[in-house]
């Protein structure tokens, strides 16, 4: 096997692994509130989200022409840097999953790439003004706008229907909530599914395995769709618990208001040229649905923890991406070391998660995600 083929295979495997973590990180965005209110059974919710994610991946025709949308200078990016960036993104995604924190997978990917490019090509390879306008500013705007909109919608809803939490009203909202959550899942599939396809296609082109200017090959679309679908189906129950119970104990009308707001925000942002992170929109909507309801208990400590997670996402992924690049750029041995470290890190995080697992059966039992075995939880 030639060195190029080895490198390309490594990048593709890592990209698909990233896609998988992207899926289980983001299945909570669409489905957490539906699972929390009982609108959908947990397993059914993730199955719907997975199918819609895969469908979305196949539907999206326009695959990203650049990996980063101008955040790094794509001309300077080599497959090794992409590999290192993916490693940073995966490890940060797994870390935040372990802590039950919803954080943006795109920001993790950008962070990892920025770190890798800083090490591999120097500071000139990173467009810091684009980092501000495309990452930092939207990161502030997304949750604030979503929280405002969902807050207003929830407030009006409960003004109109005093007993919205009771039957039969709640039944209507549960159905409506499932519909709006499905919209979020489909929209997510069309945007995030194509991210990994873009990465793989660009690597194939850079390495000379594919004609420049051509779209993704069928097997790339199929494997990327499958990876994100499998990730979504595996559920990411830790993040699901935080988003469905941790920020606010969401009731069906709130879930409906939050998911509708998220769908509206995602569609508006993707059609009006100001990209917002799905995760940050959805977290903001859920928070807003708590603020908008009188006497609803918003757990600000959890909200604050999530905020810290967002602030750390970019630098943390950059740090890991940079370290990975420093080792991987030394040659084939370096690549193998980084890949081995990725596998070891992923397994270690998975092992820690097993100490206090969150699954489809206990996702709604508590509002907290811990990494310490909690005996009180078992007895409930």
């Amino acid at each position: 096997m030639s060195t190029t083929l080895f490198l390309v295979s490594l990048v593709i495997i890592t990209a698909l692994f990233f896609d998988f973590t992207n899926g289980f990180h983001d299945s909570a965005n669409a489905m957490a509130t539906s699972v929390a209110t009982g609108a959908l059974k947990p397993k059914v919710a993730v199955l719907i989200a997975a199918v819609l994610n895969v469908a979305g991946a196949f539907l999206s025709t326009e695959v990203a022409k650049t990996i980063s949308g101008g955040i790094v200078n794509d001309a300077l990016v080599t497959p090794t840097m992409i590999f290192a960036g993916l490693v940073g993104a995966i490890l940060w995604n797994l870390m935040t999953w372990l802590l039950g924190l919803p954080s943006s997978s795109s920001h993790a990917l950008f962070g990892g790439l920025i770190g890798a490019v800083l090490i591999g090509a120097g500071a000139s390879g990173v467009n810091f003004s684009v980092v501000v306008s495309k990452i930092l500013l939207p990161a502030v705007v997304a949750p604030v706008v979503a929280a405002l909109a969902a807050g207003a919608a929830t407030y009006i809803l409960y003004k109109m229907i005093k007993r919205a939490d009771d039957e039969p009203q709640a039944g209507w909202f549960r159905h409506a909530q499932s519909v709006s959550a499905s919209m979020v899942a489909l929209a997510h599939g069309t945007s995030d599914g194509q991210k990994t396809m873009g990465v793989i296609t660009l690597v194939l082109i850079t390495a000379g395995y594919q004609e420049s200017g051509t779209g993704p090959q069928f097997w790339v679309v199929a494997t990327a769709g499958l990876a994100i679908g499998l990730g979504t189906y595996s559920g990411g129950w830790r993040i699901m618990r935080t988003m469905g119970k941790g920020i606010v104990d969401v009731k069906a009308p709130q879930g409906f208001a939050a998911e509708t707001t998220s769908a509206a925000a995602i569609l508006a942002s993707s059609h009006m040229g100001f990209g917002l992170s799905t995760t940050q929109v959805c977290s903001g909507s859920i928070l807003g649905s708590g603020v908008g309801k009188k006497l609803a208990h918003v757990r600000w400590t959890t909200a604050r923890k999530i905020l810290y997670g967002w602030l750390l996402t970019l630098p943390a992924a950059a740090l890991v991406g940079g370290a990975a690049a420093a080792i991987a750029l030394t040659g084939t041995i370096g690549l193998i070391i980084v890949f081995a470290a990725l596998v070891a890190g992923a397994l270690a995080i998975y092992a820690i998660s097993k100490r206090a697992p969150v699954s489809s059966t206990n996702v709604n039992d508590s509002a907290d995600v811990t990494i310490k075995p909690d005996k009180a939880e078992v007895t409930v």
Partner: protein, 81 residues
């Protein structure tokens, strides 16, 4: 630095207006459809059906929400453009 404030404002306003409008219309529908109230005098709760005119108005509101969902699908699926 090139920040597109106009699209930012447009996205923000669209999100707020769309969310409030859709949730408002659907809630109006639910109000109408459940306007019969309930009768719990007999021990078990019985939901009384809404008046026919309220029912019609209610289904109209739910129908409009359904059309908005279809519009959302139109926006999401690139093959329609």
């Amino acid at each position: 630095m090139n920040i597109d404030w106009a699209s930012l404002a447009l996205v923000a306003i669209t999100t707020v207006v769309a969310a409030v409008a859709i949730v408002g219309i659907f809630s109006l529908g639910v109000t109408a459809l459940t306007s019969g109230g309930q009768d719990d005098s007999g021990g078990t709760v019985v939901h009384r059906p809404a008046q026919p005119i309220a029912k019609l108005a209610g289904y109209l509101c739910v129908g409009i929400s359904g059309l908005l969902v279809l519009y959302g699908l139109y926006l999401i699926i690139p093959q329609f453009h």
